[in-house]
């Protein structure tokens, strides 16, 4: 594929880079240099081009995270409605970790994020692909327990 390297890059092919990065992240858990290289090869891009693009977007991670990533919304509306900070505090106490940290057993990573577009139903958190709204400490306990149960 030597010739392909110097060919004008197909712009429509490059358009698949975010999709490819999502797939790679799902497979590898995070975007390791190997994962980036794999995407680059498939799309006929330079690895540094893929890396440059990937680092722009907050949903891509370049370090391993826990099995479940908990993201608590602390946007303005959630803060005003009350409870966003208390939810973070409660999770910190329950999990024994601060924002940006992962539990020792590798189960949970805690993060705080800006607006999740659920301003009408705060406090709100997202765990992996699921959004949880109008949270109470009881609900949080139940959710965490269920996730621990499924391992």
């Amino acid at each position: 594929m030597e010739a392909g390297k110097f060919a004008v890059q197909d712009p429509a092919k490059r358009a698949m880079v975010l999709t490819a990065l999502f797939i790679a992240q799902e497979q590898f858990g995070y975007l390791s240099p190997q994962a980036i290289a794999r995407v680059a090869e498939r799309l006929n891009m330079a690895p540094e081009d893929v890396y440059e693009t990937a680092t722009f977007y907050s949903m891509f991670r370049f370090k391993p995270v826990g099995r479940h990533v908990i993201q608590v919304c602390e946007g303005l509306s959630c803060h005003l409605a009350g409870g966003a900070e208390r939810l973070v505090e409660y999770l910190q106490r329950t999990l024994g970790i601060g924002p940006g940290e992962t539990t020792l057993d590798g189960m949970f990573t805690l993060q705080t994020v800006q607006c999740l577009a659920s301003c009408g139903t705060s406090p709100t958190m997202r765990i992996d692909d699921t959004l949880y709204e109008s949270l109470t400490t009881d609900k949080v306990d139940m959710i965490l327990q269920a996730l621990r149960g499924e391992g």
Binding site: E52, T55, G75, P99, T112, C115, G120
Partner: protein, 440 residues
């Protein structure tokens, strides 16, 4: 009592399915539209005076009219990258009634001669992505998308593209960059996307709420549509109400509904009988109004007249116990977080604003901090590459209506409302060229 148009089906069980959509008037506008000439459709939408619902309020028919070149590949982008703090209407429209948007998108694409449509959706909207994919597949299966739609010579393909966490990609040129597989940094305008867009071809970009209006205009006519709302801001509008109100949520009301009516009648007023201190009328980018300005009506021209903007129609209500400096700090933190880093006034300016506001809120320093903040905001105004830097400028200038509160912080060396200063999660240091997020 105003009868909902856009959210009419949203309360029905399984409202997201094509069966419920079609059983309740859905896909009846499309055959009518396909019988019309594109120019007639553009004229219809012009007469309806529909304006964009993503924030800028640009006349939709006029935008369609710019997509004039013949015999070239043209694209339509459906903007589902909702991220403006306080806004949660597009998520509702997509999750509850995706076919309404698809029908509007097909009609828009036909009117401008686009052969390909992209749905760009915020990466975090996992349910929305699923709903979009299912809805598009069902629309193909019924012949509303694909080759020779409903037996006509018109063909359109549509696919879903996930964003990956960047507020700036809601800006149309940044969205196009992102669709091309690049960093979502905005392009200089002009040229506008209608001239040079996706892959340098003419591209029409619309917010989902804008497109959701289109089938209703085709079905019920431009005159009906223009009879709702005000002279220059026509039609229904989905408002999102959050903050200090009893009933937070989305409310579909005519353009021009008074702000106090939305807060007190629809959202049930402020808990504890407290007074409204300030209201952000259109999402975090729009300058706040004081509690004395609630008589304003919610439409493009009335809000512009009081120095603010309708934005996305995201109303954030703040009661008398809210610290405005804290609101300013949180708003600045959002913009610092989401600055794409391309231009210095925005990248550095937003971060400096956060630092100054953190110190003022914590009661550090003296009034020179406030002078520095005002100078910083004046220095940023109009000097950033895209409108995002100016959005923070506008938001902060709004908070300056409560300048005495800024001075009270430095004079008392604490928050005068007695609120403890809460250190937010610090903004993660940027790796060179990297965007911050995740833990911030």
């Amino acid at each position: 009592m105003f009868e909902p148009v856009l959210l009419k089906r949203a309360s029905l069980p399984r409202s997201e399915t094509i069966e419920v959509y079609m059983a309740n008037g859905g896909y009846q506008a499309l055959p009518k539209a396909l019988e019309m000439k594109p120019a007639e459709l553009i004229d219809l939408v012009k007469r309806s005076k529909l304006r964009g619902r993503g924030g800028a309020g640009f006349p939709t028919g006029l935008k369609w009219g710019f997509m004039t070149p013949e015999n070239v590949t043209k694209y339509l982008c459906v903007n589902t990258d909702e991220g403006e703090p306080g806004t949660f209407k597009d998520r509702e429209l997509v999750e509850k009634d995706p076919h309404q948007i698809i029908e509007g998108a097909i009609i828009a694409a036909y009117a401008v001669g686009a052969q390909r449509a992209f749905v760009y959706i915020r990466g975090e909207f996992f349910l929305g992505v699923k709903r979009w994919i299912k809805a598009i597949a069902d629309a193909y299966a019924r012949g509303f998308l694909g080759k020779n739609i409903l037996g006509t010579s018109y063909s359109l393909d549509m696919s879903v593209h996930r964003g990956a966490g960047a507020y700036i990609c809601g800006e149309e040129t940044a969205m196009i960059e992102s669709l091309e597989g690049k960093r979502g940094e905005p392009r200089l305008k002009p040229p506008y996307p209608a001239q040079i867009g996706y892959l340098r071809q003419p591209t029409l970009v619309h917010n989902v709420e804008t497109l959701a209006n289109v089938p209703h205009i085709v079905n019920r006519g431009a005159e009906w549509y223009a009879s709702i709302g005000t002279e220059q801001s026509t039609g229904p509008k989905v408002f999102c109400v959050s903050g200090h109100v009893f009933r937070r949520g989305v409310y579909e009301l005519p353009m021009g509904t008074p702000l106090h009516e939305i807060i007190y009648t629809h959202a049930g007023g402020v808990p504890g009988g407290k007074k409204v201190k300030a209201v952000i009328p259109g999402g975090a980018s729009t300058p706040l109004l004081t509690g004395d300005e609630l008589d304003v009506t919610m439409d493009f021209e009335s809000l512009a007249a009081v120095g603010s903007a309708l934005g996305t129609g995201a109303i954030i209500v703040m009661d008398e116990d809210t610290c405005i400096v804290d609101v300013a700090r949180r708003t600045a933190r959002f913009f610092a977080h989401e600055s794409c880093g391309r231009c210095t006034p925005c990248r550095v300016g937003t971060q400096q604003a956060v630092r100054l506001l953190e110190r003022i809120e914590a009661g550090e320093g003296d009034s020179r901090l406030i002078d520095q903040l005002v100078d910083l905001v004046d220095g940023m105004a109009g000097k950033t590459f895209c409108p995002m830097g100016d959005a923070l400028v506008a938001a902060l200038r709004g908070t300056f209506k409560f300048m005495e509160e800024f001075h009270a912080h430095v004079a008392l060396k604490r928050c005068p409302l007695g609120l403890p200063y809460q250190e937010g999660a610090p903004i993660r240091e940027k790796a060179p060229g990297a965007s911050t997020h995740a833990a911030a």
